[in-house]
Assembly symmetry: C2
Homo-oligomer: 299 residues x 2
């Protein structure tokens, strides 16, 4: 595509607004839509054009990115009465960057194909920081030709961009990422609780275990936040529960039993049932294990 | 201590023989004992002296290191009729580097104190590679003066040497290390199984998730071994089960419920009940999830 063709962007939350800004800064004209118009204002100030609905975005753009909240939001944006697919023209290209269901990604790709369009699933990891800095990891499922066509735009938003396979593969890969994080997180939280209950000094404990076989991004980045009693997101418990449920459902459909994932999900659901729990950062899982996190360690 | 005083070393398995060799190479004369004498031969060839029992080691040395298999071995070496404690003299210093029970470490430290001796618990992490290269992490519990006295010897064996607190603290810290690894490992294994069942190419999946928030030593070092269908140790399933059981018992004594750890331990026990299971490397956990690990991924 040339830089004069406008690019569509739907979903201007914390992630989407940073990602859309990189497209603008890359010299592309942008047509944006978001359920809450106010979140679009910083982009409109920088020259983006407002669209009144997903259908309106589809009418004005040949390439549309989406990153919304939950699978039912994806379903509405794509398959709803005022959605992208029923307004798709031949040759159009859709890229859903929401973490969503692999099965839904396949369904949308099939619906797009019926109209001569293509839909890719391309969820990301790297969080708000990766979105701001344009260093996201992007995991892409779907038609390889379409992937190559949209790659220059993705390179404005991410660094580690990998075509994973057919439609749904990007979502499956992202769920793998979340399954790994789930296990790592419960290990880190239970170890910290064990350390406190054993009377260890947590800083010294981390000094011993932080650089060997127990090392992980979670241990390095989130354990210090737990020690600092800073349980804000980061990544919300409510969104992580969504991802882990998607993984459980997909595994179940595939006949795969994942007792580790099931255990972690149950713990997060217990956390979310507490007042304020679902709006904690994922490392808030620690609070299930330590009823007095605001007491200093015993020595 | 001067370099002319002989140092005792009991337990010459894969870890112990490398660690003892560093003491020899550091210029110390060494008195060694091992249940199987043959394992001592390479050290005897290099000038170490054979002792006929732990009591014999105690009779000849003022400082004794031990690294044996299981807590009952530690108990026998220290508290048995021909053991170190009943032959201890005032001023002697014992250092148990076995991964063992925090409660047993306290018991041995108390028994040593009765005879005017000191016992430290100082388990290690870093595996056979860390032992060979002298880069172990050493987590030390017990008397700080004794810790400082023995630190020059420990520096021949390890790099990251941290005094964790009173007797038992070294063991508690090592168990924290194992709890983190347990969670991380089940996350990695379940994600790989999920990826295969989803038809992903596992190399590409790892390329997407290996450097972000899912990153860990386990993912980086053991996932490639799983992909290469190399399930040998590394670290034995049977030893990891020992460690996880110690952690479960200690947590239970402290009134701490650790459902993540309990889930992982149950999975490892299921693995160990299979023929050959307990002699796999810890990443053999993957085999519980994938009945056909020797088939190539689907694309």
């Amino acid at each position: 595509m040339t830089e004069t063709e406008p690019v569509g962007f739907i979903g201007l939350g914390i992630m989407g607004r940073s990602m859309a800004l990189h497209l603008l800064e890359g010299g592309h004209s942008l047509v944006v839509y978001n359920r809450t118009r106010q979140k679009a204002l910083p982009l409109l100030d920088r020259g983006a054009t407002w669209a009144s609905s997903p259908a309106d975005v589809a009418a004005r753009c040949a390439v549309v990115f989406t990153i919304v909240g939950f699978p039912h939001d994806v379903e509405e944006v794509y398959l709803g009465p005022n959605g992208l697919i029923s307004n798709a023209r031949s040759g159009m290209l859709f890229v859903d960057m929401t973490t969503s269901s692999p099965a839904l990604a396949v369904r949308i790709a099939e619906a797009a194909a019926v109209r001569g369009a293509v839909s890719l699933d391309a969820p990301v990891s790297g969080g708000d920081k990766g979105a701001r800095e344009g260093t996201l990891s992007i995991m892409v499922g779907g038609d390889p030709t379409a992937f190559n066509r949209v790659l220059p735009l993705m390179r404005l938003m991410g660094k580690n961009i990998v075509h994973q396979g057919p439609a749904g593969s990007g979502q499956s890969c992202k769920l793998c990422n979340q399954i790994v994080i789930a296990g790592t997180m419960i290990g880190v939280c239970e170890a910290l609780a064990f350390a406190r209950r054993s009377g260890l000094n947590l800083d010294r404990m981390l000094q011993s275990i932080g650089s060997g076989a127990a090392a992980s991004w979670t241990l390095q980045n989130l354990a210090p936040r737990i020690l600092a009693q800073n349980f804000g997101p980061g990544f919300y418990v409510k969104h992580f529960i969504k991802d882990l449920r998607l993984a459980m459902e997909w595994a179940k459909q595939k006949g795969l039993d994942l007792p580790g994932l099931r255990t972690v999900l149950a713990r997060y659901e217990a956390l979310a049932s507490r007042p304020g729990g679902e709006n904690l950062g994922t490392h808030g899982l620690y609070l299930l294990y330590d009823s007095s996190p605001f007491l200093p360690p015993s020595h």
